[in-house]
């Protein structure tokens, strides 16, 4: 169980980005945090992973307060984080990065399985550097693979769909669906994407740094998206809903 209690964070320019957020993430659940751009989704994920430090509030991991732990120690405690904009490394191969994510080593089978899950052919990618020779979509898939392979207790994915082509996205949906069935971990995904929200157990709707709603997927999902062409989200655009979250 990940418990977030009264978490707040203010940007250097004085804007309150996360405002007294409390949230419980149970084990073995897939939670999608969604909301309009600027609602604080990525910041909340970074606060959980320790990439930002909250000004107040606390984060408890299985009852242990990890608020004061740094990024490294939180990772060791079991919090994994996939960046929205992955980092490139000259001279570090896909294989080496994946091995690092798995504690320093990984079997060939593990490496191949995780790359297939994200739609990359191992024989083409394992020995390539994680640098500018990989496209944005390829590097994004490698980023997701690092977290999948790490298999942390709590896996955070920040907009995993961004920059990924439709074929790979289908693979990714399958990977998350399979992960949900076969893991004891909790999966937290930051996303606007309808198909990702559709596989959630619970959806958290964030707006202006506050939780507007947190409920089972079936209670929120129909109100976020037009279903079967019906304008249930309230979108009045001619031609139908543009398939975006209407928080």
């Amino acid at each position: 169980m990940l418990e977030i209690k009264n978490l707040s964070w203010t940007a250097p320019d004085g804007r309150k980005i996360i405002n007294d957020v409390s949230l419980n993430i149970p084990n073995k659940k897939l939670i999608v945090i969604t909301g309009p751009n600027g609602s604080g989704k990525t910041t909340l994920a970074k606060l959980i992973a320790g990439l930002e430090t909250a000004e107040s509030g606390s984060i408890l991991l299985d009852g242990e307060d990890v608020s004061s732990l740094n990024i490294t120690d939180r990772a060791k405690k079991g919090i994994g984080f996939a960046f929205q904009q992955p980092v490139r490394f000259k001279g570090i191969t896909v294989k080496e990065l994946l091995e690092l994510s798995n504690g320093g080593s990984a079997t060939q089978k593990q490496l191949e399985e995780v790359l297939y899950k994200v739609g990359l052919q191992p024989e083409k990618y394992l020995h390539r550097d994680v640098d500018s020779h990989l496209s944005g979509g390829e590097i994004k898939r490698v980023e997701i693979a690092t977290v999948l392979l790490r298999n942390s207790k709590f896996m955070l994915f920040d907009e995993p769909e961004a920059g990924i082509d439709i074929w790979s996205f289908n693979n990714l949906i399958d990977a998350f669906s399979s992960l949900k069935k076969n893991t004891d971990s909790s999966i937290i995904i930051i996303s606007h994407q309808e198909r990702i929200l559709a596989i959630a157990d619970e959806i958290v709707l964030l707006k202006n740094g506050k939780i507007k709603e947190h409920a089972a997927k079936d209670n929120i999902f129909p109100r976020l998206f037009c279903m079967n062409g019906k304008d249930e989200c309230g979108c009045k655009k001619k031609g139908g809903c543009p398939k975006e979250v209407k928080a």
Binding site: L51, I71, T72, A75, K76, K90, G91, L100, G103, T146
Partner: protein
């Protein structure tokens, strides 16, 4: 050969008690061991200069030649001239590292002038590792010079690395390419403390459809200072690429001055350069994988210089 030389050889030329191929081991200004093979002849120079001529027979395939030089004490000033004559269609690997060890504050210097003459269709992988060992504040200097002439269709791949402990180094390379020749240089350089290092690559591409690719990666730590200058001169239809990346740590400084000179309208020359500290995001990413900040930095630098 003394124990210090043995230790240095294991670092700069993968010595494991022996060499599989022709070799000449130079220790403190003189040759202490030498072996020629049927296809690779190593002889003293006959022009009065210190050094050797290495003659590789045409068509020699898959052989290795080891030409390491070691300095094992302070107050040594070694200058050596080694000339490599590579016959037509030969395909060989040449390993020519240099190690300088000092246990006192006396300076020691190795200056190795290597000239390569690659005949038509020949191919050479040239591996050169430099290292300094001994007391932290020892004064160890390595000044390598590499001049090469690549004949028609010849290929020279040069892997050069400075592994640390060298107080000052000055590398000068001057290479000329005939038609369809190919040159690849991969330089890896690490400086720390008050060390200095300078690199000068001058490549003249004189033959049509020749190509050159220079890749230099360096890390400047402590108060060290590096200078990188490269000049690719395209005198014919050719392709040239120069890439210079530097990581700065502590108070390290790097001055990079790449130059491209196209004297032919069909010369296609490209340069890329990037110098800066390790990106904070790189450290953060590795920390989310459980590495400490120090481990992350070491991982990034080791990969970069690999």
């Amino acid at each position: 050969m003394n124990e210090i030389t043995s230790g240095l050889l294991s670092i700069v030329s993968d010595w494991d008690g022996g060499f599989d191929g022709a070799y000449n081991i130079r220790q403190d200004c003189q040759s202490v061991a030498r072996k020629s093979t049927e296809n690779v002849k190593i002889e003293n120079k006959t022009d009065g200069k210190p050094g050797i001529d290495i003659k590789i027979a045409p068509g020699t395939k898959g052989e290795k030649v080891f030409i390491p030089a070691c300095i094992t004490k302070g107050d040594v000033d070694d200058l050596v001239y080694n000339d490599f004559y590579v016959g037509e269609n030969a395909d060989v690997t040449i390993v020519a590292g240099c190690g300088v060890h000092t246990d006192d504050s006396e300076a020691s210097r190795h200056s190795g002038v290597h000239r390569f003459f690659l005949e038509k269709g020949s191919k050479v992988l040239y591996i050169e590792k430099h290292v300094g060992t001994g007391i932290d504040d020892g004064n160890r200097v390595i000044n390598p010079v590499t001049d090469a002439e690549l004949g028609e269709g010849a290929v020279l791949e040069m892997d050069t690395s400075q592994l640390g402990g060298v107080s000052a180094s000055s590398r000068k390379c001057s290479i000329k390419l005939d038609r369809e020749a190919k040159l690849v240089i991969r330089e890896r350089l690490m400086t720390d403390f008050n060390q200095t290092a300078s690199t000068d690559f001058v490549v003249e591409v004189n033959g049509e459809d020749a190509s050159v690719n220079l890749v230099s990666r360096s890390v400047a730590k402590g108060n060290s200072y590096q200078e990188y200058r490269s000049k690719i001169i395209g005198n014919a239809r050719c392709t040239g690429h120069s890439e210079c990346d530097g990581i700065l740590a502590d108070n390290g400084r790097v001055n990079a001055e790449p130059a491209l000179i196209a004297n032919c309208k069909d010369a296609e020359l490209i340069h890329e350069a990037a110098i800066g500290k390790i990106a904070g995001e790189q450290i953060l990413k590795l920390r989310t994988l459980g590495l400490t900040e120090e481990e992350a930095e070491a991982t990034i630098i080791n990969g970069f210089l690999k």
